[in-house]
Amino acid sequence: MSSTSAEQTTQAVSHTVLVVDDEPVSRTGMAARLKRLGYRVLEAGDGKAGLELLRRERPDLTILDWMMPELDGPSVCELVRRDPEICSSQILMMTGHDQPDQIAEGLARGADDFLSKAASSQEVAARVQAGMRAALMIRRLEHATGEIRRKQDAIERELQSAARYVESLLPLAGPLLPGVELAHAYRPALTLGGDLFDVLRWDNDQIGLYLLDASGHGVAPALRSAGLSTFLRGGGLRHQPGSRDPGGILTEANKQFPLSEEGNYFTIIFARLDVKTRTLSFASAGHNGAFLHHQSGGVTWLKNSSLPLGFSVPNLYETIRLPVSLSPGDRLYLFSDGVYEVPAPSGEMWGQERFAQAVMESGDLPMADVITRSVERAAQWLGHGHFPDDVAVMGVELKDEASVNGERGNTAR
């Protein structure tokens, strides 16, 4: 028992009540009653001084007289409610006569409760206690909200940092090999994206290119994508026989990356470009976004109906050699479905064909501009810039022969 009452006293002592009243007698009387109840009491002799103390001391509860010269009680209430710093303060309004319409007006202008000047000691104690209860609840809520906000900020910062890491995995735009140029666009739907692409420089003649799309959005797909990308960039492939064979690479990746327990998976296209023989071969695992844009006009799609990674294990992925050889000025584009599965406000999808059309229409521009424009066209179709899915487009251009030969001589190993 004694410990409980000691706790109550300590608790009360740490709580502060501000009494704002212009009549010294009534103010001092109220202050004395509150001190007897164990509260710390602050006093102010008018509305303005009360407001200043409220801002400076942040009392747990304020008892405010209605009738005061200049700034009266209801006006103080209104000012408090308009100030975001102190708007959650608990205010007990005190009046000499408690008429229903006055009470209604006081509550409407921002008071939390009423206290009659004629109230008994028991009633004062009970109302102050009730006000204190509400004040503490609000404090706790504010504290929890602040805590949540701080944690959310911390998570957001970590996501940003993870996103910078994912973007650091993307290749640099510019020359890949003498006579081969790279350009790309990458716009994750959330902070972290599940699309990734990269270029492997195997030697002075051959490069491997891939673009992958993890199903789902957010943290888990981004982690899974980074894992698969790391596998493709070296670790998993270096010691495999025939490690430059796109079909062989996907067959191996299929073994290493099964469906997640939620049914998440990858689609991927892996292409091999031989600059010397000007040939292109590829393998696809459920990925349909790739075409060769010929300098002479027109496109050749890299299409192959195939299972996404993890759908069936084991599974043999086929390497397909493009029946056409590449000419100088030809551009290979690999892209994720996020750039063409774009619904207009009417619901109609933009679609692969329109995307290819957009690429062809700006075909005379440098490749980086073609990519930028095509993504802009997709955004126009969408009606805004917030793509519902990750957008990734990678383009590789074979430059004209003269520049290839010229540069090749200079950079021979």
Partner: protein
């Protein structure tokens, strides 16, 4: 999404209505797992009333096919609409999950295999 179960000789037909998408994944998984856990070996998904399947839905179909296969069971599909059929063909799903145009064929194929 709504699912309705019908017990047929040697299996269960699940009539699916709505979209097989990320938003409905929990409902779909629960409906399918309940059939599998009761020991039915053949699940026939009736897709006639499914308008849309997204990438998450495709993953679920593959997962369900794998889970049934693990228990020596089988997943079949009935009458997908043309748009859904196209999406599934692009991802080569019919290679994993046979597609039938009527229930009798789906049942007969399983009986022959069993």
């Amino acid at each position: 999404m709504q699912t309705k179960e019908r017990v047929v000789p040697n299996g269960v037909v699940l009539d699916v209505t709505g979209d097989l998408t990320y938003a409905n994944r929990d409902h779909f998984r629960a409906a399918v797992e309940s059939v599998r856990k009761r020991g039915y070996r053949h699940l026939i998904l009736n897709m006639a009333e499914v308008r849309f399947v997204d990438s998450s839905g495709l993953g679920l179909l593959a997962l369900v096919a794998q889970n049934f296969k693990m228990n020596q069971g089988k997943l079949s599909m009935l009458k997908p609409q043309s748009y859904v059929r196209d999406i599934m063909t692009l991802a080569n799903i019919p290679k994993l999950i046979p597609v039938y145009d009527n229930e009798a064929d789906a049942l007969a194929a399983y009986q022959m295999a069993a």
